[in-house]
Structure formats: C-alpha cells, structure tokens
Amino acid sequence: MLEISDLSYSYPDGHQAIEKISLNLGAGESVALVGANGAGKSSFFKLIIGIAAASSGLIKIDELSVEKKTLKEVRQRVGMVFQNPDDQLFMTKVYDDVAFGPRNQLLSDSEVDEKVMAALEQLDILHLKDRMPHRLSGGEKRMIAIATVLCMDPELILFDEPSSFLDPKARRKVIQTLKKLTMTKLIATHDLDMALEVCDRVVILNKGKIFADGPVKEILYDEKLLLEANLELPLGLQKIN
C-alpha cells in the first residue's frame, strides 16, 4: 500500500532529518512509528503527504508516486491528523470544518452532508456538529480532527501523536476509535502503551534512520533495544516486571 525506498530529507540548514529510509506498509496494517524527540517522525509524515519535498528517494501510494503533479490525488488517498487539533480546526463550526475536505473534493451538497454526518456518527460526536471548535475540550477537538480526515475516505491515515494532551477517558476513546478504523494507519507516538494496544507492528526511528522494525510484541517487549533508542518499556509492561 505504502512503499518507501531510500528516502532522505535535509532541513534548509543542512541538518539531515531522514536518511535513506525504506519501508513498506501493507493494506490495512496498523503500524506505530516511535522514536525519541527529534528522531524525524514529523518530517517523515510531511514527506509522505507531500508537504515537504524529499532530497532523494521514492514514495509510492500503491502505484502512485508522491510528486508535485500528483499531490492532489495523494491527499485524497492519504489523510493526516495533526498533533495539535487547533492547527487542524480552523472553521467557525464543527460541521464546516468536517465538510472542508469533501467540499474541496467538489462533491455535491448532499454528498458532503452524507459524508460529514457519517463521519460524525461513526465517532459518536454528532451532537457537536453545530458547536464552535475553539470552545470544545481537547478530547472533543481530537475526535473532530479525526472526523475531518475520515470523511475524505482515505486509504491511509497518518496520526501524529493522537493521544497527546488527553485525559485518560479521552485517550481511551481515541484508542477505541483507532482500533475500529480499518484503513492502513501509521501512528507516530510516544505512547507505547497505546501502540501496544492498537498496532500490529512497530518501526523505531532513531536519528533519521530505521533502528528497528518488527511485530509489536517483539519490539516493545525488548527493553534493551528500547533503551538503545532512547525509549523505555511501555508502562503496562514495567508494572508487570
């Protein structure tokens, strides 16, 4: 589904953020992308969705390669949920915010309405549709941010720290939501307990390179490996040990 080969990216100041990464994701896979701060997770996402241009390498969504002339189609097939929902929600009403994507897809009003309602219902937040986004709680904003992407029917969704800034109840709701989503998911997170629960595979990024890639129970149970990547065992496992 997602095919990345020899991808490299440097910041304008010359600092190498991503170095020769190759990665394949199958359809419907749920993969956690973990790594210490500054490991290159956000840059990696920006490259996949075409916000930043790679210095070298290739990214393909099925057979579609990510380049300037294909960006429109790429963004119809790949959605991204930003770390800070305030960056993602910019309209005056929740309904309009969720409808922003489908409207840009030039769907008819009835189709837009259908998609918005379906997304809000799926996430159990239909009651928020007439509210102002900036008046909502962090958890509600996060769910709406997910709805804004979901209603565009993407084949792949990139989640940037979906459980950050949330209270336990809101975090639990996001986890349940992620588990229910059937499309391919790439989730950048520091929340290793969430990764353990939601994902089948883990990729560790370290200093812009892939440090480890494997089944979630193999990687996240390996304390030595995690420590080498400046991470630690998921809290749930620490208690067990």
């Binding site: 119809q76 910019f90 005056t92 102002m132 565009m152």
Partner: protein, 266 residues
Amino acid sequence: MTGISESMSTINSLEELADKKTIIHQIHPRVKLILTLLYIVLVISYKPYDITGLTFYAFYPIILMVLGEIPFMPLFKRLLIALPFSFFAGLSNIFFDRQAAFFIGSLPITFGLISFFSIMLKTIFTVMAVLILIATTSMPKIAYQLLSFKLPQMIVEQIMLTYRYISVLLQEVSSMYTAYILRSPGAKGIKMQDMGVFVGQLLLRSFDRAENIYMAMKCRGYDGKFLYAKPQPMIKSDWMILLMTAGLLFLMRFFDLGLFIGNFVR
C-alpha cells in the same frame, strides 16, 4: 482574557449569521458583491458638503438588516472599531474650515462641521455595507466571486487567510498574555519594556501556527480556488434585484431626491 475570548466569539458570530436562509441570504453572491461595491463607490463619490443626498443612502443598510434579520449590535460593535479613524480624520476639518455655511438661529454651521459629518456618514454607510455582505454571504462564496471578477488569486488568498488567521493571532495573544501575567504579579498589562519581545514572539508563534494551519488545509485539498463555493447560475429574480437596486442607487446619486420631496410636500 475574557476580552480576547469574547473577541473571538464576536469574529465568528458575524460569519455564523451567513448561514441564515432569509431573502437577502438567498440572493446570488455576485449580485450582493456588485451592489455592495456600487454602493460604496456611489457613497464615496459625494462631495464633502453634500449631506442631504448622502442621508438617503441609509435606506440600503437598514432594509438589508431588516430583511436579512441581522441584529444591529454585532454590526455596531464592529463599526465602532472603524469610527475613531474617520473621527480623528474629520476632526481637523472642524478646526481648519470655519467658514459659516448657514445659521441655525444665531448658531453658525461651518463647512468644516458639515464635511466632518459627511466623513462620518460615509464611514458608517460603507463599513455597514461590507459587514452586511459578510453577514449574509459566506467568506468562501465572496472569495469565489472575487476570483470570478479576475482579482488575482494571490490577493484573494491573502484576504481570506488574513481573515482566518485573526482568531489564530488572538489565541496566541491569549495564551502568551496569560503566561506573562501569571509571572508578573501586580502588573496590569504588558510593561513597555517587555512589549518588543512580546510582539516579536507573538509574530514568530503566529507564523508557525499559520503555517501549520495552511498545511492542514492543503492536506484536505485546499488549492485557493474556492471552487466548492461556486453558486448556481443567476436566475431571473437575481437579475431583477440587481437592476432595480442598482437603478435606485444611481437615481439617488444623480437625481436630487431632497429637492423633489421638498417640492412635493410644498
């Protein structure tokens, strides 16, 4: 920081009014935009001492507000922001142009005073016309029409994003101000010595936020063309409203209605 929160709600509330379904809201966006521009041009074209003719132009905002069910207070609050600029611009006329135009009893009414009122009326009418346009037409629809008038996309995008980013700027001010006040016990505001750093940081943070928001918009298919806001073609009633209202506005501008009504009453 309730003031900033209220400002954010106020900014949004005007846009929310555009969701109504009144007669005015249902008029084609192009008609409303053309009439608003025509109204502004005609109001501005009045000579500084011609107040009589100008006062008839009050009919336009009043009728639109009544038919469009637009509450007066939200518009008035925004109008108050614009008024001080024209107030101080017009004030100098009172001091420098002291020649008497006529007397009310023994009280001389100077040309300066008349031109002052003329400036104030022009400001009130033109700002109200723009506010009513925003309260009856959504911003993307206005943007689409501006693009269809061949206004450069870059300018339209600047207008739209500036409008969108006002609330981003306010959010940043709100959080920075709170952080500042919590570490400045007793301070009633930002001290002058800290103002430079505060404004500089505000600018940098706002740039970052604005860039992130722009990326989020791009990720969801935004291309600055507002094609989704393309309205249905204009229908017969739209053409009639356009022609009749434009005709009336021109009539009021080039036909002395004050004199006509005066003769009629006599």
